[in-house]
Symmetry: none
Subunit: 202 residues, 4 copies
DNA sequence: TATGAATGAGGCTTCATTCAT
DNA sequence: TATGAATGAAGCCTCATTCAT
């Protein structure tokens, strides 16, 4: 990569990072291009060399950040050596993601405010530049499961929504309780949901 | 209520209704005071006689609409004659609310876009002008329950978040499945959550 | 007219006058809304209460100024008491307009820069708020003429174009000669054009 | 001309042609340097190697295009073998130019939008790189004329203005009539103007 | 109480021009 | 010579809010 290309990448990163910071603190509509450009240390016009408009930079942030979280979680799971069943692996992934978000509250804030089920699924199945993808990992988990899961997408949907909604409030505002206090009950609830979708042979 | 007071109320209502319509269709930040006032048929200045600013009218809308939903559900429950246990009553309330939202998509849209746990709890416990309040109803349910519930607020939190997040996508976008298909699994999951919070005497 | 309406009219006039001044000196595309508003002593937003955009104010200026010139010329003719033939009346009108423009160079500049045949004819036949209209006057002249004119619109077109193009340069830049020096030859040329369009009975 | 010089010329030509195309279609102020450079297939910075700024390229276009038209007309006249008087030669030139413009509407558009008398006269007397020049041809015509012309510059001025203004509207918009219908009356008018400037010995 | 004219800060975006490569 | 990334001034326009009537 040439020197000039590196500079360009660095500018783009700088803009993305700054936008991310403002979006998560001030909110999208209260953040102006001027805010982003000047904090990023570039001219206002420069912004438009890299992004079509404000919506464009948000879209790219969502895609990038989602992929990043998924990839980290999937990678962590792949590093596990001891044998685990489907349920444990699934909980492992969930737990890893929750911990990432717990340590990175602005990311959580951003994702929660901008991620709908549609965008999430899209991010899950869009490989972009990442090699491994969450969805593949999830499907692999299913195949390895001893007991078949009926309606795996609906199950994933319910779990994801439950997790994201409860953890959001819990991590950011410690309401109605801290994450530590929430986790046991949350994981129990997840295991119950899994059980409820597990087809048991007669 | 005097004639003048009625006129005042009517203007306020008109503004609230119009604002609601725009917020749910165009979104909050893309709705202007001019939009609201002119559609409501009053002068722009009049808006400021009833509301401090744009945020004020949103706040009042959230409170009012939440209370309305809760009140309707609680009233419906009170009309039930046959005896029901805690779990059934709880599910009854949830089901009633879901049905209200299913029939009133713009309300769902508005609540989902504007309701955080904090605002929701606030709305639940702010009597405003409504007589009955959801929270009272919920607490009454708990007292009547045969088996004690550990951590009732956490339980309510988890259920509310699960319901609102899943139903939002399901009702509005039919993704990942229709509401009819979702309901059985959702209610099973809720019953499991209730069970997991129920203290069983030994 | 109420006090408030008078104020409004005065603001609109102020904006029109200022815009006219800038358009004729700096040119249309180099004149900004900020220029106009601040010189007119009103806020930038106020401009948009009176005009849709920059093109709107130009359109209104063209219509207004054209009508004004035509009306003055027609009125002056109507005040003439001594009997005149068609040719003389026509030349009278032309001469009056030329003199108006000679005394009002910025008006000439503006009209010349913004008036096409289409706009001119449109302005001529749009009564707007003026009572008398140039076109009516012209048609009346024709009717009174002893000798019929073949193709009166084409004749008017040729004369108008000849007059406007030559006088523009002559008045503004005194090139290639002064207006005084131009007039005799110009009027001779016009009389010749009229003659060439006059149907002579045989 | 060296290879490098040819390359240079080709870039300059390409820029001029592209600018001409945009100026006549989009207009001067709505055409950006980016438009010109990118359509011409060169870098934006390259533009500034050949032209001082946007006004510079317009100026050079006007000069070049005017000279081109004049040269073609003068050349056509020089090819005529049969003997013609001054009036006929003059009309011949005019007719040739009108026909050029009729076949090349974008050129007419450009000239009309950008040519004032001043620029025109300047173009006529600036030899630039062209060998033959309209003005020379015109003066030669005068000398050959049997009857002296009083005030030849004023006469040329009036004719040129009459022709350009009427033909512009006629060719581009067919208003108020087509070119074919206009020509006879126009040429009659021109002959009359010539007559009016011709000094007849007594 | 009711109005809507007036405001000006601030948003988004374009673009002529420069300059390091 | 050739490039195009970078810039920031400047343009247009919106809109929440105020205030005189």
């Amino acid at each position: 990569m040439s020197k000039v290309d590196m500079k360009k990448k660095s500018k783009e990163s700088s803009l993305l990072n700054t936008a991310f910071e403002f979006f998560t603190t001030k909110g999208f509509s209260k953040t102006s291009i001027t805010d982003i450009a000047s904090k990023a240390g570039v001219g206002k016009g420069t912004f438009y060399l890299y992004f079509k408009d404000k919506y464009d930079i948000r879209r790219k942030l969502i895609a990038g950040k989602s992929a990043q979280v998924m990839t980290i979680a999937a990678y962590a799971l792949s590093q596990q050596t001891e044998p685990m069943g489907f349920e444990d692996k699934f909980i492992f992934l969930i737990d890893n993601i929750i911990n990432q978000l717990d340590e990175n509250k602005s990311l959580l804030n951003f994702i929660s405010k901008n991620l709908s089920w549609g965008l999430f699924m899209q991010a899950l199945s869009t490989p972009s530049e990442q090699e491994t993808v969450f969805r593949d990992e999830y499907l692999k988990l299913l195949e390895e499961s001893e007991h078949p899961i009926r309606d795996p997408e609906l199950m994933l949907f319910m779990v994801v929504e439950l997790v994201s909604a409860t953890c959001y409030s819990s991590i950011l505002y410690r309401e109605p309780c801290t994450l530590d206090k929430l986790k046991p009950d949350l994981y129990t609830a997840i295991r119950n949901i899994i059980a409820q979708f597990t087809v048991v042979d007669g």
